[in-house]
Amino acid sequence: MLGLQILIDGFAISSLYALGAIGFTLIFGVSGVLNLSHGAIMVVAAVIAWWVGGFGSGPYLGALAGVAASLACAFFTYRVIVRPIQNSRAIPREEKEIFVLTATLLWGIMLQEATAYFFTNNPKTVRPLVEGVIMILGVRTPLNEILTALLSWIAIGLLYLLVNRTRTGKSLLAASMNPRGLTLLGFELSSIYVLVWAIYGVLAGIAGVLLGAFLGVSSDNAGVLTASAFSIVVLGGLGSVSGSLIAAYVVGYLETMTAYLVNPSIRTVPVLLLLVAVVYVRPQGLLGRR
């Protein structure tokens, strides 16, 4: 009974983690950027979905608005913050990484504070797309929890098809392997980056809205969300999408098991210890390439 509960809850939360982390790893894989405003963008998506949904326009319109807001944030992050740093001549190349990290971190804090200012930092629960509960072998499961896992996997599946089955997607893959080779073949690298950030915006938006409906979101969560995406991505191997998926399930189940079987207040500790161990023993992560 408890085992089944852990299995179901863990699955839902892990799917959500996977969706949240996959955009993060995609950006790193293709353009080498670690976007530390990730958590804040997810929070913005959830809060906008909550706000628009609250006007009686229904949960669907709200969810759509949330994803749109996240897309807008992602575009802004790329055009106004990441690209100017990458193109800057004043910043030496070996320091671009730390500048992107610091700048996206600051931008994330700005988004977080602006959200807190306009919508307060009280936790907000987005109205779920579907209501009601069903019993799975005696475990009360909200339908929304099932929908969360389902939608996460649909989004991940669509991303997989896009990357592996379409011409545009293959150019993304090529950009992650050899950007210079791609430009030699006549592809415009900057339009590929814009596309990656657009995909990222949609994925982070969906993840944010689903998280808001599943667990509720407060602007204070932004840092924790970024940290968990970062840990999952490093655990799985930076830039490896399938590694991130596996890592998301490891993290999700480890956290759920700790919360149910040991003590909810230390739910993140085993994950952190595992992370340190993996980084020391195998720095490239579970499926990462050197």
């Binding site: 070996e94 971190l105 600051l106 804090i109 200012y117 840990s231 993140t268 720095p283």
Partner: protein
Amino acid sequence: MTRVLLIVLPALLVMALLPLGVGGYILGLLTLGYYYAVFAMSWDLLFGFAGEVNFGPSFLIGVGAYTAALLNHYWLWPIPVCLAAGAVAAVAAGAVLAVPALRLTGPYFGLVTLVAVLLLQNVLVLFAGITGGEIGLDLPDVLAIDENTNYYYALAFMTVSGGILFGLSRSPVGLILQASGQDAIEAAALGFNVAKHKLTAFCISAFFSGLAGAMLIFYLGTASVGTVVDIAVGVNVIIAAVLGGRRTIIGAAVGAIFLIGAGEILRPLGQLSTFVVSAVALIVILFFPGGFMGRLLQAGGRE
């Protein structure tokens, strides 16, 4: 070098004379700013020179602060002994963290240091019965009750630490560190032990961070997660160092004092103050990547 002294000495003189002219409120603020300045300068030694991005300065600060706090709270050890113990503990913790972590590079090193902070925070909250948890641990002793005395303690501490760190950064050791940060393979090929130098830098950074953390809590009278361990503390330290101008040491101090001051001046804006400070820092980073002191003090003279 003379240009640096020409700027720093008058500034120090003004700071030393400040208690004659301004009230206790501003002095209290600056006292806090000076401790932050030491945090930021220690961080800059590691990042600006050794090229290692330490996302967890508050791990070193927190270990130093809580070691001193626990010794003082439970065993009533005198303050100087507690400060020394805090600094030693921070160096030990820094070495434990650095020896394996320095094998890693870039984002991996950053993540390990970040995780160290999260673990420390979890441990402190988990053993709340001993450490006071989120509420904090009150200390029976304080540095001084008088504002002026506290101010001079902080100013003297910042000046001495800043002098040592700056001197170190301009010494041959600093140059080797800079070389290892920019091109570790070439530095090693020239016969320098890169790992040893980076470890030394980490330990020095840890020493001053831990000592400053311990001083800070004896000034505040309590040790709490929010003031010395929280990720937000580390983020502020990093922003201060980059804002003031990386690889300058003194810039980090300027950035830290600016950050503390700006946060206070903008307090009437309420919640928006953090937003404005972050926006200012972001604009500086985007348009003046050298920071406040970049042009003035850049050690490499790149400009």
